[in-house]
Symmetry: C2
Subunit: 329 residues, 2 copies
């Protein structure tokens, strides 16, 4: 690998001049610039980011911490982030926390050690000292916090919307699936739905689940029909669980949406491909990623007046696991 000194020698100038050409700052004569360019070309030189980072005390890397890239909500989010961050010339350091505090800490540590310019994190401990003491830009994903800006979709409203949808469409014995208690957005949507159900004239039960994992989803589905065989409406904790329930319901011969209505949460790509296609509450994951990245980049560029939070809309995506509302009602 050629270094800046090789280039300087080749072009017959000092390293400072090469650096000026590279960064396009300071004065450089037209003729000199040409010679330097030629030397760069000739040596196929490309500057060492590590050296630059050391002096600048910051790299062009951004740390991205997700619970688990294997959960289909996150690839969308990550992709939105990556597209935006890439455009701005940054690169991503990726970590999976598995919602474990130790892994989270470890990653934040290595992010710092690598002098990232900013951190994006979907964590449940937004107020942990892992983040409060950081003096670099942080954006929380899909979570809210007082400490740092956040990009999220309103889970409480989403939960309400899900519940209202089932109620309006006539489900009378609703089962509400409560997601993992330590995941903040899971609780939000649960609370939102719970509030609506409490005030509606319906019977309902709550089924408590402890994970979003694919392998467990089938278990929750079986448990659901074992415990509440006569339920006629299910508000799932997310689309994975919803689709597992849909699967189980069809296996048991339930007619959807006639016997049983079902609504998911997230609108992951697969939800439109299930059959019947899944009605769900959409969180715009890709856009959330994009917005979060844009926000972080603005912070990195030290712009004034950066929003503290960006709330994206949750929307009802009516597909075919819910009935159509009576247009005369």
């Amino acid at each position: 690998m050629a270094t800046i000194r090789d280039v300087a020698e080749q072009a017959g100038v000092s390293v400072a001049t090469v650096s000026r050409v590279l960064n396009d700052n300071g004065y450089v004569g037209a003729e000199t610039r040409k010679r330097v360019m030629a030397a760069i070309e000739g040596l196929n030189y490309s500057p060492n980011e590590v050296a630059r980072s050391l002096y600048k005390r910051e790299s062009r890397l951004i740390g991205l911490l997700l619970p688990d890239i294997t959960n289909p909500f996150f690839p969308q989010l990550a992709r939105g982030i990556e597209d935006e961050v890439h455009r701005a010339g940054f690169r991503l350091l990726l970590g999976n926390s598995d919602e474990e505090a130790s892994k989270e800490l470890e990653y934040i540590q290595t992010f710092l050690q690598n002098q990232v310019v900013g951190i994006m994190s979907a964590t449940n401990n937004t107020d942990s000292e892992n983040y409060t003491n950081l003096d670099l830009p942080v954006v929380f994903l899909d979570r809210v916090s007082k400490q740092h800006p956040s990009v999220y979709a309103d889970g409480i409203e989403g939960g309400r919307l899900a519940a209202r949808t089932l109620v309006e469409r006539g489900s009378k014995r609703i089962t509400l699936i409560k997601g993992p208690g330590h995941i903040q957005p899971a609780m939000d949507r649960f609370q939102g739905a719970l509030a609506v159900l409490s005030e509606a004239e319906v019977d309902f039960s709550v089924l408590s689940t402890s994970s979003y994992a694919f392998d467990d989803a089938r278990t929750w589905a079986e448990e659901l029909f074992a415990k509440y065989p006569d339920t006629d409406g299910v508000i799932a904790s997310n689309d994975i669980v919803a689709i597992a329930i849909l699967h189980e319901a069809l296996r048991l011969g339930r007619r959807i949406p006639d016997d049983l209505q079902l609504i998911g949460y997230d609108d992951i790509p697969f939800s439109s491909l299930s059959y019947p296609s899944l009605s769900t509450i959409r969180q715009p994951a890709y856009e959330m990623g994009k917005e979060a990245a844009k926000l972080l980049i603005r912070m990195i560029q030290k712009e004034k007046e950066v929003e503290q939070t960006i709330q994206l809309p949750v929307t009802l995506i009516e597909r075919n696991t819910t009935r159509k509302v009576d247009p005369n009602a």
Copy 2:
């Protein structure tokens, strides 16, 4: 941020001694070590990776280049990689290439600029000079190459297996979906299936598709039934496409697997949750990631006798979009 000099001063020793304590090499007196440890603790010191990388001429980062993290095959793969790489103390720099040569080059460039210790890539240009001229460990994912070690599952065999399965179970008018021509594994599985169908006593047609994207999958599905309405067996290019076809088939009232058999490819997590659950050819994505990471790490550690390729088995996962074989046959 405290530096090694702060620690040295605090402990009343030289930076060399602190470095020796940190890296546990060279001689350090027991008493001195204790003082240094205390200073590290007291200052909450954590070494700057960037400075270390600069001197060592390599970081502890590994570059991972994937076509698109949004394709459900890759998160599994990425997770396998991440778990293994993390255990060994490395971190991941992630990039999406979108199968575009320019993005690919750009990422490889920045990987090098950041002095990664190794690169893992799922590319279609394994023999491009992007890779041939690299003098650092490279492992190809899901692809084969002469230049560098690869971890892959045998696509040709997988394609054969898929085709044999449909033929054996009695489909007579098979539609074979050909995936994007520029994606090597897509071609492999296509060729494998094609070979089997050519020799079998069945009619078959080929439907050519140009992407794996979710949004397009529905289009292929519609096209399929428009062009070949009387097909009774579909070999899909991957599970996304298979599930889209399943959706469309059910929408059109086809009985599965009685009227139409369907087999996918990959065994992504959702394939077991479709209804009927999808029969498919499994590629062990997570394990592939793990193996690839282990291989790369061995190369990084300059072990002798590192395998050049690791081939993982493709297996038939018989679920409910294919009929059971007649046990008397």
